[in-house]
Symmetry: C2
Subunit: 663 residues, 2 copies
């Protein structure tokens, strides 16, 4: 934002000290926290926030602001200090004084939504840098749609050795370099220290060389030399590639005896050390007091972007009414008018034209229908586009030179993809999804958890969802994944039974709040939903898809590809004189939000049986008796899918027999 | 093994074609599988298996053999072809003809234990290379103990672009480079192709530069030039660092029209293409037929190592009786005599001297006791040694120059660590464990799953196991992790309640079969086990730790840090006139293997309540009524641990009230 010809703030080093003492004092008061990183990165943060970061603390949600991501989230006090000093309304001094106390906005790690200016939740290492790649990608994609006038910003990341040792950072770096996300800058806190001691205990990497191998520009800098930092940040802004700034710093800078040691990473300095630091840095002020002059300078820095934002508002206002409305709708996350009607019409058509197709193909159709109405839908896959069927014909593949096209080839980088999806959602303007096999949801899990924690709208698409995968064998046949995803708070887990349910699930996923997981079978199944249901019953989580012929003797609960098996078993049970109702249960979490009355109505009073080609774990919630849970409590094996199903007792005949034997 | 002065086998290219046709014919017959990689890597495999790999097909478990890992496991037919041609007994032609059929040893992906010579299960990309790092580390550690005479071998890995795009590969590469595992060679199938098409769609990495940044030697080679391959493999053997051989190959080499295209990756060639390939490579033989001369040449190659093995047997026999017995015991995985007695004595002592300490510290004590008797115990942590308390004083830290010391600093590489633990176990001679926080078990999950699938003995140690983590907040507070691990087949999940249970759990984990997860609380808890129980009741999975005073009115089921809460609640319930028994349930999986009689005896007939500071998911198995599961069905928050416990209703008073309200 600022030109290099204007001088640095004359009090800049003092301003950095203000950050340092806020951090050290808050950790000391809490008797818990991580002072080392804020002390070490305060100079870097000061130059960035007073000179280069485009933001306006009075308008934290300004769409064209730069994004700042603290990937080394344990240094949260650095961020809280910055937000307070620059004048973010929710970052009050009182909150900082309650650092790490129950329900403080200044939580142990930065939690998205707690304070404006926390662009993403961080703490699990490596997630921030990978999420930032999604933000930087979002910026380019949105820019391609709406132009430089309204979309023209950057993404800045602070990270430490820990983030760079995590494998996800490699996926992120490699993807960003490939896509040439030039507006992404990573500032590496190269302090030579981790929790266990010197980094030399565990790593010998040449980080610059590593980033260069992935097409990044790199700069080494003394992280305590403001002029040099300023020059490096300016160079990053001018680069045509993403940039790594490896900033040599001292962890715990200013702490008289603990500086440079791992002991300063994650524990309060202690009264004596902190007093010594006040002396050493000539800081006579009491805890939490920032001298008025320095606070004023920081507050001025926090409003640096106001004029820029004013010009942006003017350009935004100058958009045609349609374009402006669409831009604003996209930012707000409101779905376009007419979408629900279009979905309803498609459901009518799909119901009237039943097809036996793989459920993944039903999912692809659903995405195609949605994509026609939702320019914000951004898809992708981890090198399994044609297998997951993540890309409908209605969605063009990304052209990385123009950032047109909306299906992203994430490469074989499931974890990086999942975090990038989070970044796309957090940036605003997009409704992201990305696909891989269900068994590889394990690779994505840390990022899925962050999406659930933040409550952001992302759809994680997982195909090849059971032993139906067949020949690829047990490594590729999910067993415990449904249960392990259902166990996660804040996540809706969908498993549609056919193309109609697929569309309803997809619509429910994007019309609802928070993240969801869309789990679809690889194999072909008969259409289960043959009667038109205008109420989209999937949206209630479970419903009777095939009623008993008269009063029920039992109820079969099933999900996904097993719904049509259950319907076939229902017919066989009739021959055994047993009247079964079949309940399709595509989303437990939604069902649990329904009234007790509705749940009772669906589940009935008759004995319940569950049928799912997966671990029985969790099904006891609905079915008390082990013998009535028809699942798979072991790993699968390689063989043709139908044969594997047969051997695990998941055929209509075997299901019917098992039911008859155990009712 | 062979010197460069001896010529390559004159029929080597024909021998490679034999591999190619076995692979292509098997995939064709199965109408399922991945021909592209075997066709592309056959020349590399032929040079490796006829010239450099130290092995004896007639003695596949020879401890001093080289390990070969097919990280790109979808190319399984290459490995099966090699094992058949070189003469491994379990790799029969009949099995190859039943490739990908139910219960064939020639499964879709290589499954450890199905055929001798499959050193590890692969398929999930990146796992093989990271597992191989553990094997190469095991070799050096064992060498440091037993010397060059009996431990002197190498680890060879085949991998593709997919493996190298996975983040775990970076963790593996970085760790191997840091440890200078010079006997590790990775041969990269640089064919420029992935499932979605050209690698240029998704990656621009300079792999050689990337490996060099992590201290590897690198060599580029034409993967179809046997002389050049031979030279590169020899150079790798001479290197003082781990070596990457980037071998430029053509995917689907020999396929007349599909060569070089992604279509050849994962589908049968088709009859016409296969016939064309026979013509192009002048291979007039019918499917599955290898000309006698070539088969004989391969079989000879498979016995190349016999003389070397003979000399090894001589050296092994020359060890002193004690050393030989210990070497053999370590290889066989049998625990040493006297261990159980030592554990029993320690339990007596711990019971007699109760301490209120963090359970992680109880775990550390347990490991210390075991380490004194188990030289094969190899620990480590992902940069959280002092937090997880993974390193007892009895275990020295690794000295990477001498490979003495048995606690490995894995760095901030949880996933790489977990896979390396698998490699250490697979190699033989070691009983590995490694620690991080429970919330980061998500990062390890794909490797934990492989351990469970293979049934290998690894202990994954996870501390900081609940909201008791406190101030670090929801990213660091596990909620769903216990459930998601319990849902995984083949894995024992332990959650001990105090130092006595910690030792019993640790002993059960290492005395039993297969992998386990050891989950320990960060916070201090009172000792729950105060009466001496010589039967180590933890080994039955659950037991009455505190009986009701008379006939039970109810039973409290609890695990880990909540056992002492339940015991305190039991006392409060007495005041309310309710007689409760408290059952400690440290391992569900073991409990489920007990007799129905024992389970009934423990669980009793009275109403059951569960108390666990984690998701209720899964508890319905024991407790039918939601209101009786006292758990946490949402994410936690940052604040002092006791306060977070209080707010979630997990105090003795609140538990007692909840019980009284719902009985």
């Amino acid at each position: 934002m600022d030109s290099l010809t204007s001088p640095l703030h004359p009090k800049l080093s003092q301003m950095a000290h203000a950050l340092r003492f806020l951090a050290a004092d808050a950790v000391e008061k809490a008797q818990s926290g991580h002072p080392g990183m804020p002390l070490g990165m305060a100079d870097l943060a000061s130059v960035l926030f007073t000179r280069h970061l485009k933001y306006d603390a009075t308008a934290p949600h300004w769409p064209d602001r730069d994004r700042f991501v603290l990937s080394n989230g344990h240094g949260s006090m650095l961020l809280y200090g910055l937000l307070y000093l620059t004048g973010y309304e929710t970052a009050t001094l009182d909150e900082l004084k309650r650092f790490r106390q129950a329900h403080s906005r200044a939580a142990g790690h930065p939690e998205h939504g707690y304070m404006a200016g926390i662009e993403t939740t961080t703490g699990p290492l490596g997630q921030g840098i990978a999420t930032a790649v999604g933000m930087a990608l979002a910026e380019r994609l949105l820019n391609a749609e709406f132009g430089d006038d309204v979309v023209d910003h950057r993404t800045w990341v602070f990270c430490g050795d820990g983030c760079l040792m995590e494998g996800i950072s490699q996926e992120a770096i490699s993807l960003a370099g490939h896509l040439k996300l030039a507006r992404l800058t990573v500032i590496f806190d190269d302090n030579g220290t981790t929790i266990d001691g010197s980094t030399s205990i565990a790593t010998s990497d040449d980080q610059r060389k590593r980033f260069e191998a992935s097409n990044w520009a790199t700069i080494a800098v003394d992280g305590h030399d403001a002029q040099a930092i300023d020059k490096a940040l300016a160079a990053a802004r001018a680069s045509d590639r993403p940039t790594l700034i490896a900033a040599r710093t001292q962890i715990g800078f200013g702490a008289p005896t603990k500086v440079g040691q791992s002991v300063v990473h994650g524990a309060p300095l202690g009264a004596t050390e902190l007093a010594g630091m006040r002396e050493k840095l000539s800081w006579p002020y009491p805890a939490f007091e920032t001298p008025a002059e320095l606070l004023a300078a920081w507050r001025e820095a926090g409003r640096r972007g106001s004029a820029t934002r004013g010009m942006w508002e003017t350009r935004h206002a100058a958009l045609t009414a349609d374009r402006r409305a669409e831009f604003d709708r996209r930012q707000s996350g409101v779905l376009p008018d007419g979408l629900e009607a279009a979905v309803a019409a498609a459901i009518t058509e799909l119901t009237a034209n039943p097809e036996a197709i793989p459920i993944r193909q039903g999912s692809q159709k659903a995405v195609g229908i949605l994509a026609k109405h939702l320019p914000e839908l951004v898809g992708g896959s981890a090198d399994l586009t044609g297998s997951v069927l993540s890309k409908p014909a209605e969605m063009a593949g990304l052209d990385k030179t123009s950032f047109t096209g909306r299906h992203i080839p994430y490469g074989v980088r499931e974890h990086g993809m999942a975090a990038a999806l989070n970044g796309l959602a957090l940036h605003g303007g997009f409704l992201p999804y990305g696909g891989t096999y269900l068994t590889f949801s394990d690779y994505c899990r840390p990022a899925i958890r962050l999406a659930a924690l933040m409550g952001i709208k992302v759809v994680f698409l997982f195909s090849h969802d059971s032993i139906g995968v067949g020949e690829d064998g047990p490594t590729h046949q999910p067993i415990e994944h449904l249960a392990s995803l259902r166990a996660m708070p804040g996540l809706r887990v969908y498993r549609p039974a056919d193309q109609v349910e697929a569309l309803e699930c997809w619509y429910d996923a994007i019309a609802g709040k928070g993240p969801s997981v869309m789990i679809v079978a690889r194999q072909k199944v008969p259409q289960a939903r043959l009667a038109l249901r205008e109420d989209m019953p999937v949206r209630r989580g479970a419903y009777v898809i095939s009623a008993a012929d008269g009063e029920r003797d039992l109820t079969l609960l099933a999900t996904g590809s097993e719904v049509s098996l259950a319907i076939a078993a229902q017919k066989l049970l009739e021959g055994k004189g047993l009247k079964a109702a079949v309940v399709s249960m595509p989303c437990w979490e939604t069902f649990e939000l329904e009234s007790a009355h509705y749940r009772r109505e669906v589940l009935g009073e008759a004995p319940l049986f569950a049928v799912e080609a997966a671990s029985p774990f969790g099904w006891h919630r609905y079915v008390g008796d082990d013998r009535r849970i028809i699942g798979i409590d072991q790993f699968g094996f390689s063989g043709p899918g139908p044969q594997v199903y047969e051997e695990f007792g998941l055929t209509p005949a075997k299901i019917a027999q098992r039911v008859a034997d155990n009712i």
